[in-house]
Amino acid sequence: MTLAELQRDFRAWLVSASDESAARLGGGKRAGLAVYQNNYRAQLVGCLEQSFPQVRAWMGAEAFHYAAVSHIDRHPPHSWTLDAYADNFGATLAALFPRNPDIHELAWIEAALTTAFVARDAAPVAAADLANIDWDAARLLLAPSLLTLPATTNAAGIWSALHEGRDRPEAEMLAQPCALLVWRRGFVSRLHTVDMLEHEAILHVQANGSFHALCEMLVGRVGESEGVIRAGAMLAGWIGSELVTGVDRALPIFTTPNQGD
């Protein structure tokens, strides 16, 4: 047996625990193979439990364990980092519990918080840095950790209540859809909800960054005077929340004459 064949048989044992794969690895190894099988599954279950503590609290340990085992059976890990194993657990939850959008959105929140926690660093822009900006030319850069999702349930409220140890609310559909924002402020991942217009504005800025285009988009949605006011208010809110991490093509309106002139 070549090394590659042995390793593929070992993989088959870990994934399926079948008698055939154990037999191919040779006799007298069953007790040892059981240790590896246990380590493999315990490690993956532990990863999912650690990555989704509030989903587990919300669903209950038994239902969560059922989902974790289903996920492990369907999706063997592929990445060098164990953290990546949590990435598509939300899809498994959606497949297993299609009528529970609260669970799907709660899982998205926890996965996004983890992703944002180790996203690329970028220092936020302060309001004082924005003096003398040519706003017609300015392109905003938003935090690289920023993730968004349109939401239909009160998952954000559920997550906050569970996280803070408060009484958990009942799951409910929102009267008006909103969007979830997750980003990292300093070293702490944050969760916030915004209305769908602000969500659209954020997607717009993430796509092309132009503040002028953002104003035009908002004017088109809510009228000239209200659109410009909303754009200014959103920008102020994003700066205050440390969501803006750069302004490109920020040309000074006034330039200092050269000393030799």
Binding site: A4, G26, G32, P77, V118
Partner: protein, 277 residues
């Protein structure tokens, strides 16, 4: 011909840096000579973990210890992984860079466990090719740790003969996990002293000490308990052969308060001083 010289020996005493002790390391002067971190936990884009590592690095030498390089993979090691590790190595300038003599990955599957190799000529060729590639990518010699194992395959060599051949061909160093020697010796019925006698002592640059637990049929390397007396005795034998080298307590589960681990580390320090005298 090995391309990179082994790092010089470093006779200090350290601990694995774990989340439970971050505040201790950031706010107090912890009496250790180095810390070891799991490389993969810091092969990330940004955020607090990297910030903490940078701050700890200002106070202590750091050893990068990996778990996912998979030098035993028949289909080679991954370029993207090496690139990420190299970026971390370049920034942190670690005392040593280490991983395990094992495989974790085949094709697109990653087990996230340290899986055993058959000690055959074919496996030796593959392991040495992979080590050469890793060392060339990092531009330095690495250390590789002997694993604890629960299955042994038929092979042409013992584990210590395999390790001796591997170090000779690649120029890599050894991270000797004394507890792993004890666990594997018990599980597979070999003499731990034969193991210590068989490995090239001059290639050992670091020693791991840890606790284990009794499973149903064999000893399990759980890293969740204190080092037992028999492992301390084996450690004393190991340093009588290797000389005092960088030694640390490895605890990954049931992690006690830092003073408990420092007290345990003092036992190693005491044995090291005794050997040096």
């Amino acid at each position: 011909m090995p391309a990179f010289p082994l790092p010089r020996p470093f006779a200090g005493y350290g601990l694995g840096l774990r989340k439970e002790h971050y505040q201790d390391f950031l706010e107090t002067r912890v009496p250790v000579d180095f810390v070891e971190v799991i490389s993969e936990n810091f092969m990330i884009d940004g955020g607090q973990p990297l910030h903490i590592l940078r701050r700890v690095r200002e106070r202590h030498p750091v050893i990068l210890h990996g778990v996912s390089m998979s030098i035993g993979s028949a289909d080679g090691i991954r370029h993207g992984y090496l690139q990420r590790l190299k970026a971390l190595v370049d920034e942190i300038e670690p005392l040593f860079v280490s991983d395990h003599l094992c495989w974790t990955r085949i094709d697109g599957f990653n087990s996230h466990d340290l899986l055993p190799l058959p000690y055959t000529e074919e496996a030796l060729d593959i392991v040495c090719d992979n080590i050469d590639r890793a060392q060339n990518a990092l531009g330095r010699a690495m250390l590789f740790e002997n694993p604890s194992s629960y299955v042994a395959f038929d092979g042409a060599m013992s584990e210590w003969e395999f390790i001796a051949a591997m170090t000779k061909r690649t120029g890599c160093g050894l991270l000797l996990d004394v507890n792993n020697v004890f666990v594997s010796a018990s599980n597979h019925g070999f003499d731990a002293l034969d193991y210590l006698q068989g490995i090239p002592a001059d290639r050992v640059r670091q020693i791991h000490l840890a606790g284990h637990s009794q499973g149903r049929d064999m000893l399990i390397d759980t890293h969740d308990a204190a080092v037992i007396d028999a492992v301390w005795r084996l450690y004393a034998t190991a340093i009588s052969r290797c000389g005092p080298v960088a030694t640390m307590i490895e605890r990954d589960d049931s992690i006690p308060p830092l003073p408990v681990l420092l007290e345990e580390l003092d036992i190693a320090r005491h044995l090291g001083l005794k050997e040096a005298a």
